[in-house]
Symmetry: C2
Subunit: 523 residues, 2 copies
């Protein structure tokens, strides 16, 4: 393997582009390339410091980039094949956009002189990219290619982060390109707390106004949560995390901060009559609109901004705690094992057993409500861990995010708590986990249905007939999870009782050479 040299020898645009990204701090490229990306693929051979991770499907790559970005805080890159390749990655880019994850997509395209001929793979990439991209550029000339790459990386890594998309015509990858300006590390904006906002919130709390602190983004760091806990202890303010945070620290003696409920009735009740202080969270709105219920979960005149996403909400909370002279020590929840009765598996038992099993510094990627909610309820008394949730609601996010988190954090154990229906959207993730020897513990809640859709049918007052039953049940045929896992080179076990799940979790934790899948058959 050659070391990259910065000699005067002519180098391809592909090399120059990746060189600039590597110099700018990019370390991983989640890739599913095709013909128009071959020069970039060849250039990766010369830049081993930019690790290529192959996905069998583009949604695996973009979801993994999201997980990597959330855990590392650094921009992830992807390599995708023209418009259709990008299209396959859009759903998880939608989630990444909502998570404000720094991602730079490299999308290969036809040679610039070939585009006008509308060959079969030609499409309007800009139109596809824009709904998810905070920054978009198609490289228009080979001279500016390194600058384009650095601009994209910097845009992605801004605060808050965003999805950036850079389209790279294959001829500009092939042609020699000069080394341009010295690539510079994207410089994150220095964190600044808005003191006036802190004082305004302090006044509200001093006045005894019933207050909810709604925490998102950096407010859900350990530091942010401890500060929020101090404020709550000093003032009686109630604390909620936003419903689907990109990243939350939890357990390990942190305060138990519940998530704002999913269904609007319960969320409205939770916020009712209170001043809602936004600490890294945006104004809460209903996930879906239901007839007769408002979209805003709290009226606008009750909202007060402490820190927007991307701003240092954790520091703002600390300053607020100091201003309020809040006690320095807050009573957190001591880590403690749940007692779990022997017997059939229920969602509550799954949540508690996983909470019991988590080693210190575990990462849990949660997708699917059936066991997700019970787990988050239970895990306040787990060891210190990080929870990653589905921020944008596009299904198929949990497995790739776990994959990317495992790439970012080789020293931490990663768990993917996943429902059977949602696992199917990006099932190919299992293969990359096996290929990269990532010790992810994949927990599949096997209830053989789209549980949320049956709930929603019920909420709409629709009595399920033959076709709607067929559209919400997954039991004909049932998935054989052991076989699917084996198909991708992942060892697997089935648990149908609490004892079996406990044993399987212990076994999985001892298995550090690669992923393990546990099918959890619910009672």
């Amino acid at each position: 393997m050659n070391e990259p040299t910065l000699s005067d020898a002519p180098r391809s645009g592909a090399f120059r582009l990746l060189q600039a990204l590597a110099a700018g701090g990019a370390e991983v490229c989640f890739a599913n390339p095709g013909t128009t990306e071959m020069p970039l693929v060849g250039a990766l051979d010369l830049l081993p410091q930019l690790r290529a991770v192959l996905g069998l499907f583009e949604g695996v790559c973009t979801g993994a980039a999201d997980g990597y970005a959330r855990m590392s805080g650094r921009p992830a890159t992807t390599l995708l094949h023209l418009g259709p390749g990008l299209a396959n990655g859009l759903a998880n880019l939608h989630n990444a956009r909502r998570a404000r994850s720094p991602i730079l997509n490299l999308v290969g395209d036809h040679a610039s002189w070939h585009l006008a001929y509308d060959a079969p793979l030609t499409s309007d990439i800009a139109s596809l990219a824009r709904p998810v991209s905070g920054w978009y550029r198609a490289i228009a000339q080979p001279q500016a290619l390194q600058a384009d790459a650095v601009d994209g990386l910097r845009a992605a890594a801004a605060s808050p982060g965003c999805v950036a998309t850079l389209v790279v015509p294959v001829d500009f990858q092939q042609l020699p390109a000069p080394e341009q300006r010295a690539p510079t590390q994207p410089r994150p904006a220095a964190p600044v707390v808005d003191a006036a906002r802190v004082e305004a919130v302090a006044r509200v709390l001093h006045a005894g106004t019933p207050t909810v602190l709604l925490l998102g983004d950096r407010a859900l760091s350990a530091r942010g949560q401890v500060a929020a806990g101090r404020i709550a202890a000093a003032t009686g303010a109630r604390l909620y995390a936003e419903t689907f945070p990109a990243r939350t620290e939890r357990g390990g003696a942190l305060p138990d901060i519940d998530r704002l409920p999913y269904f609007p009735e319960a969320a409205i009740q939770a916020l009712d009559g209170a001043q809602v202080v936004l600490a890294g969270a945006i104004a809460p709105v209903a996930y879906f609109g239901y007839e007769g219920l408002p979209s805003r979960l709290a009226p606008e005149d009750r909202l007060q901004l402490l820190a927007a996403p991307g701003e240092p909400a954790d520091l703002a909370l600390e300053q607020l705690a100091e201003l309020l002279q809040a006690p320095r020590v807050v009573p957190g929840v001591a880590p403690q094992q749940w007692p779990v009765q022997a017997g059939p598996l229920t969602p509550v038992a799954v949540g508690r057993l996983l909470s019991n099993a988590l080693p210190d510094q575990a990462i849990v990627s949660v997708e699917g409500g059936t066991c997700g909610y019970p787990f988050v309820t239970a895990s306040a008394q787990a060891a210190r861990h990080t929870v990653l949730t589905n921020t944008g609601g596009a299904i198929g996010q949990g497995l790739p995010v776990a994959l990317g988190a495992a790439v970012a954090c080789p020293d931490r154990r990663v768990y993917a708590l996943q429902s059977d229906g949602s696992a199917q959207y990006t099932i190919q993730s299992l293969w990359t986990m096996a290929r990269e020897r990532l010790p992810v513990v994949v927990l599949i809640t096997s209830n053989r249905r789209y549980g949320i859709l049956q709930t929603e049918l019920g909420r709409s007052g629709i009595e399920a007939g033959e076709q709607s039953k067929r559209l919400t049940l997954l039991d004909d045929p049932p998935f054989d999870w052991l076989a699917l896992a084996r198909g991708y080179g992942v060892p697997a076990h089935t648990a149908t009782t609490t004892e079996e799940l406990q044993r399987a979790l212990a076994h999985a934790q001892a298995h550090t050479e690669g992923p393990v899948l546990i099918e959890m058959r619910l009672a």
Copy 2:
């Protein structure tokens, strides 16, 4: 199951919309719904004549719609969940657009009054839809909902067909809606042959100009091919099919019409010096642009239009044959078995064995070059069959198209000749095949690599290093195809020799209760 009644009782917009589609000729809805589509799901219970087929992933639904539309000639419908659900279906809609398949996507969206609040699943659906949609509309008022649906269906079923996308906010699905104008069957434009073009081509052929007839669309019907064969016999014109036709009839004593070669060097040579008459085909361009090779495979001044896609190219060819007083009988290729040597499996052996095995009126969905080209070469002497290819180059099309073709043609046997790499993009198709008891024979070419990318690396003069090898090899871990198939309820076999493949094909043909998968391990 209730019969739909057209009483005066108030019906939901969802019911009215589907009622209009059913009255307009829609018979199947390939669906992966979510919360915002629940009223449409409920309404399907009242309209059993509109058959719902569930896909685990949206790309399965859109690819199946394409296969259904190609084989039935009637518009297929899909049901997708907001922007992200549509996004997951875009790659196969890109292929469907290139195939000019009539498809109407129903995309649910937030309640119209909820959209402004930018809830997590909100996205710019129009921007996502436009690159694949010849027709797009977001329903703006419940009163016009049946007319909107009929307009969309009619746009999709125009000649040539297109992908139409109709966005349906959930509140308009829920609210009562009146029955509007009598829904009418979309009226296909009457086929008209342009006599002047026929005469112009006849003059060129009379003059003895070297001529290639490039056949696409309806010219690749049996009728079109027979007429083309007559013209070739009378004039010495050479015949080519376009490289990736949406649908070709083949075998069963039809003339052996080769496809225009994929790589531009060979294609340019095939057309060199000839007048190129476009019969249902568009002007041929290189699939990708390669430095030093032109994008146009034939210069513009050598192109002559006989019939555009959507026009009756088959009838135009017949009129041309008559005008030329071509012989009424053309020597086709008599169906005949290939002799196949016992031994290890090669792509040529696979092509010939499959050609031998095809029953009359089989349908073969081909994706992946490794065995695809050898099969099409071999199958001129097969029984009469229909070949469906990947029209747009977005990978993951072959399995869903086979699925949709099987839904459209329950009396014909369907084969999916598929490469291992491309099968992974929409692997979830296997489950729907099992669920719907579709007797599809899935043939997986297992060479554990992205063969085309290794070819393209070689063409670029790139010597593969460590990372580019890892990005083009699929052997670590190898897929366990028997396990993957079993995971989705599909029985499977492995063939490593010609004898084993022959036996497996015979066994599969006898199995009519559902799909079978055959892993073909190449030597």
